[in-house]
């Protein structure tokens, strides 16, 4: 190359590109689905190993996304008696139960002023697609109190567009305090055993004080109830992530 001077310019190497290793940022955040963690009991670990193999096999063929209680999902199942032989339901996940292959999640929505809750099995072959429309967490693990809350908190548009969520960002926690319908409720949610933080209690102070009579402050110190899952989770996370990468 000849520069404007007419002499050959000294070769300038191009500037080094800045590589942002996004994989490293992603690996810092791990999510192990709660149904992989075996319950405490006297069952042979071989049984959990066989179940995990089946679960991983199913996940290789069908994508089960990461979601928490409080995220809005859309599930399409194969239905023999529907028009297109497929049934789509949108709702907020209020509960995740069961361990192993029988893991379930309950979706709630209010359709034409009628509250509808459907319990789906995560590993059932009839489920054709699970999409996460909104990924977020709430203050509680169990949102069953939405049955006694005002219907506006359980209504979600059936044709709502998925809200984008970046991979490496942390899952947002929605600190919404829900307003309830007047009492009687299906369960006495003000009692400490449910430990609910997501309700705006507009009850008189006398009721709240009386509800504290049923508190069991010794429960958190009970050593026999402790179940430390950190080491088990580590092992299972390594196993599952290795298998899924193949």
């Amino acid at each position: 190359r000849i520069s404007s001077d007419g002499k050959l310019a000294k070769f300038q190497p191009p500037p080094k590109p800045v590589i942002i290793d996004k994989q490293k940022q992603r690996e810092e955040r791990r999510f192990l689905s709660p149904e992989f963690i075996p319950p405490r009991g006297r069952t042979d670990p071989l049984k959990f190993y066989m179940e995990r193999k089946d679960m991983i096999q199913r996940r290789k063929v069908f994508n089960i996304p990461e979601f928490y209680v409080g995220s809005v999902l859309a599930v399409t199942t194969a239905d023999l008696y529907a028009n297109e032989k497929a049934n789509r339901f949108v709702g907020i996940c209020i509960q995740r139960g069961g361990k192993g292959l029988g893991a379930t999640f309950v979706l709630r929505n209010v359709i034409e002023d009628q509250g509808v809750e459907i319990c789906y099995e995560l590993y059932s072959p009839r489920i054709q697609a699970i999409e996460v429309l909104k990924l977020e967490k709430r203050l509680d693990d169990n949102l069953m109190y939405l049955r006694d809350a005002l219907p506006e908190y359980s209504t979600f548009d059936v044709n709502m567009k998925p809200v984008s969520h970046l991979d490496h960002e942390e899952v947002p926690v929605n600190k919404l305090q829900v307003r309830m319908k007047p009492k009687p409720w299906s369960k006495r949610w003000e009692r400490p055993k449910y430990n609910i933080k997501g309700i705006k209690f507009e009850l008189p102070e006398k009721t709240m004080k009386e509800a504290q009579k049923w508190s069991q402050p010794w429960l958190e110190f009970d050593m026999l109830r402790e179940y430390d899952t950190s080491k088990i989770e580590e092992k299972i996370w390594k196993e599952v992530s290795e298998e899924l990468k193949k």
Partner: protein, 242 residues
């Protein structure tokens, strides 16, 4: 227990049974046993050989096998006799077969008449004096005695019971596991006896079973998992009703 789905989308519950170090211990001929057929003694799970009398250890020494925790007899026809000392594997059974499972039920201890026999008891209120879970009358006036076998409180459970006609859905040859439909008597990790079904409806269910048993050093190389035809395998895509 685990769920299992069929190709039409129906869910069934399944029990996992592990075949742990099973060996044939002894052959007892028809004349010796005094029954209609000859018998084969089969031993289960390995156990420690210490602190046991010589007479009990004789059977295991003859067969050349470590001491087994459970020994059971199977009635066999003459053409199905196996040499003592051969190991038995889960591949002896095939998916689609029907099977009877025998085990000792969970022991409940000394139980009252309501739990043991399902009696209705007496009402909780309206004047009942100290009588809410009692059997009531035990016989009539004319009989003037109590019949033998009268249902009364006593030790419940811890007896051998059989569940008949259970379908085998899947067999894992690597870990020797049999997936059997429905529930099975006994607590988790208890020892269980599995036989071919005696029910007449399942007489012709076996199409070419491994006869007399599955030999690991033979020519047959089985895949790791054997599935029943109707069972949904997780390698297939999701079910659609087209």
């Amino acid at each position: 227990m685990m769920p299992i789905w069929t190709k039409s989308g129906k869910k069934h519950a399944v029990t996992l049974l592990k075949v742990q170090d099973c060996h044939v211990l002894r052959y007892i001929s028809k004349e010796e046993s005094g029954g209609k057929t000859s018998k084969l003694l089969v031993g289960g799970k390995n156990a420690s050989p210490f602190f046991k009398s010589e007479s009990t250890m004789e059977i295991f020494k003859e067969a050349g096998v470590p001491r087994k925790q459970k020994v059971s007899t199977f009635n066999v026809t003459d053409d199905a006799i196996i040499k003592p000392g051969t190991p038995l594997y889960a591949a002896h059974f095939r998916p689609g077969q029907f099977v009877d499972v025998t085990a000792k039920t969970i022991g409940k201890g000394f139980q009252g008449v309501m739990k043991r026999w399902g009696f209705k008891g007496q009402p909780a209120s309206h004047g009942q004096t100290k009588t809410h879970r009692r059997p009531g009358a035990i016989s009539t006036n004319k009989a003037a005695k109590v019949y033998r076998g009268k249902k009364m409180p006593g030790k419940m459970g811890n007896i051998y019971r059989t569940t008949l006609g259970l379908k085998v859905w899947r067999i894992n040859t690597k870990h020797d596991i049999i997936y059997v439909n429905g529930s099975v008597p006994g607590h988790t990790n208890c020892l269980v006896k599995v036989k071919d079904s005696k029910l007449s409806t399942y007489k012709d269910c076996n199409k070419n079973p491994p006869f007399p048993t599955f030999f690991a050093d033979g020519d047959e190389k089985l895949p790791e998992d054997l599935y029943d035809e109707e069972m949904f395998q997780f390698t297939d895509p999701s079910i659609t009703y087209a």
